[in-house]
């Protein structure tokens, strides 16, 4: 069952971080191939011809794309330890719902903040609304997954490595309005799986500055 596992990775991407956390939670050994998104490898183009995007998980030579689809796949194949999705169908549906919610909202919102054009203020408000909603969903639980890291934790925690970037670009504080969420992020980072997958927020900020320059967005 456990054939070769390869991850096509891009270190600042919250989406590849999700996959790395899932793989680590399951204790799966894999080869990490770093991609340069301005110079995509032939392997990436072959393995994800439709979107040409990372992450791509290659398992036994077969590619799987889209981060949450990959996480669900990992959970289904390596189902002997650390379940990420609940086994109860209703609880499972709620986890999938929140993963879908984050996929629809987080990235585009965050991007509008660090790009910093006229829609930045609106994007900041939207971000806080999303984070407060997630904080509400977390409630008094240690993790979204309950007592241990689960699918929704995996889906959301990578974006926290971008919080410093959002706050600096947008001149606001996320912790001021969402202290519980920040506490949750710190708790997650005590796990090796999360701590190893998430880059230093300062490195993310440096990456964003370089990216803006490269894309001519200054």
């Amino acid at each position: 069952m456990e054939g070769g596992v390869v991850l096509l990775d891009f270190w600042p991407s919250s989406f590849t971080m999700r996959v790395k956390i899932a793989l680590a939670e399951k204790g799966i050994k894999y080869e990490c191939k770093h991609e340069d998104l301005f110079n995509k490898s032939p392997l990436l183009l072959e393995m994800n011809p439709v979107h040409k995007k990372i992450p791509v998980l290659i398992h036994n030579g077969k590619p799987i794309s889209e981060s949450l689809i990959i996480v669900q796949y990992i959970d289904e194949v390596w189902n002997h330890k650390s379940p990420l999705l609940p086994s109860d169908p209703y609880q499972r549906s709620q986890a999938l719902f929140w993963g879908d919610y984050l996929d629809k909202k987080m990235y585009s919102c965050g991007k509008r903040i660090w790009v910093g054009k006229e829609d930045q203020e609106e994007a900041k408000e939207e971000l806080m609304k999303i984070l407060k909603t997630m904080e509400g969903e977390l409630g008094d639980k240690l993790y979204f997954g309950g007592d241990s890291i689960g699918y929704v934790d995996v889906a959301l925690v990578p974006f926290t490595s971008w919080f410093y970037t959002f706050e600096t670009c947008g001149n606001f504080s996320i912790e001021a309005d969402c202290p519980k969420l920040i506490a949750w992020a710190k708790r997650c980072k005590e796990s090796e799986s999360v701590c190893k997958a998430l880059p230093d927020p300062l490195e993310i900020y440096g990456f964003m500055l370089q990216l803006k320059k490269r894309l001519g967005l200054n």
């Binding site: 194949v77 549906s93 719902f97």
Partner: protein, 245 residues
């Protein structure tokens, strides 16, 4: 909870499953023309699940809808034993897990991942693309059309060599997600004076559409075309005029 001596009557069926079937209450909040709600109805019918359909006026949303789907305030919402599930993709996976007969998703994890991948792709590139083409004008419309047709070609590629349906011999998850193409896209094409699904360019999809529309679960459960034409004409005009300011 009602207990029934299942094994006498239903053979292999597990007792737990029978208890669920005996006491469950399934409701679906929908809107007559919503392709998202119709997906859920198709899935419930394939599984043989009885449900109560509640029509929602999405232009005058009820307190019930706001309570059951406070995050998105949209239909469809499935309510099963008092618990609400929203988002058609999520509802479909829920239905597949709550009722094990006539599986919608493949059993193999890789095949499941592929079905989910194509469903997401089709929703983002074909559904949204076609809708954008319908509701925009000029260069924006042409761009949306081009992108939608390009995406359609990828689905055509996926269908080549498949049996009856994306799900194999029977309708599955991906057929249900793409099902709107069979009855709703032609209406959009007419309203928007545009062609996306050229039968010569897309023979596999065209053949699939014919099989899909003739399937017993599908054929008697479609919104009336004349009403759809009126509705989408009004929507397209309204959205195009707001876009142009």
């Amino acid at each position: 909870m009602a207990y029934i001596n299942a094994e006498d009557q239903l053979g292999d069926c597990k007792q737990e499953q029978v208890i669920l079937m005996a006491t469950e209450e399934v409701k679906l909040l929908g809107f007559w023309v919503s392709p998202f709600a119709l997906r859920v109805e198709w899935a419930l019918k394939i599984k043989g699940v009885k449900y109560e359909y509640i029509e929602e006026d999405i232009f005058n949303k009820s307190t019930l809808l706001m309570e059951l789907n406070p995050v998105h305030k949209k239909v469809p919402v499935l309510v099963h034993d008092g618990k609400a599930i929203a988002e058609s993709f999520v509802i479909l996976e829920y239905i597949d897990e709550a009722w094990k007969q006539n599986p919608l998703l493949p059993q193999d994890p890789y095949e499941r991942a592929l079905a989910r991948f194509w469903a997401k792709f089709a929703e983002e590139k074909i559904f949204e693309g076609a809708w954008n083409a319908l509701c925009s004008r000029g260069e924006e419309k042409q761009k949306a059309l081009r992108q939608t047709i390009e995406a359609m070609a990828k689905i055509e590629g996926e269908l080549e060599g498949k049996q009856q349906f994306f799900g194999g011999e029977s309708i599955g998850y991906l057929d249900i997600i793409l099902g709107w193409i069979s009855y709703c896209l032609p209406v959009w094409e007419e309203v928007g004076s545009m062609e996306i699904l050229n039968p010569i360019k897309f023979p596999a999809i065209t053949a699939w559409i014919n099989r899909f529309l003739n399937h017993p679960v599908i054929k008697d459960k479609l919104p009336p075309t004349d009403k759809m034409l009126v509705y989408f004409h009004q929507r397209s005009e309204a959205l195009a005029s707001t876009a142009n300011g």
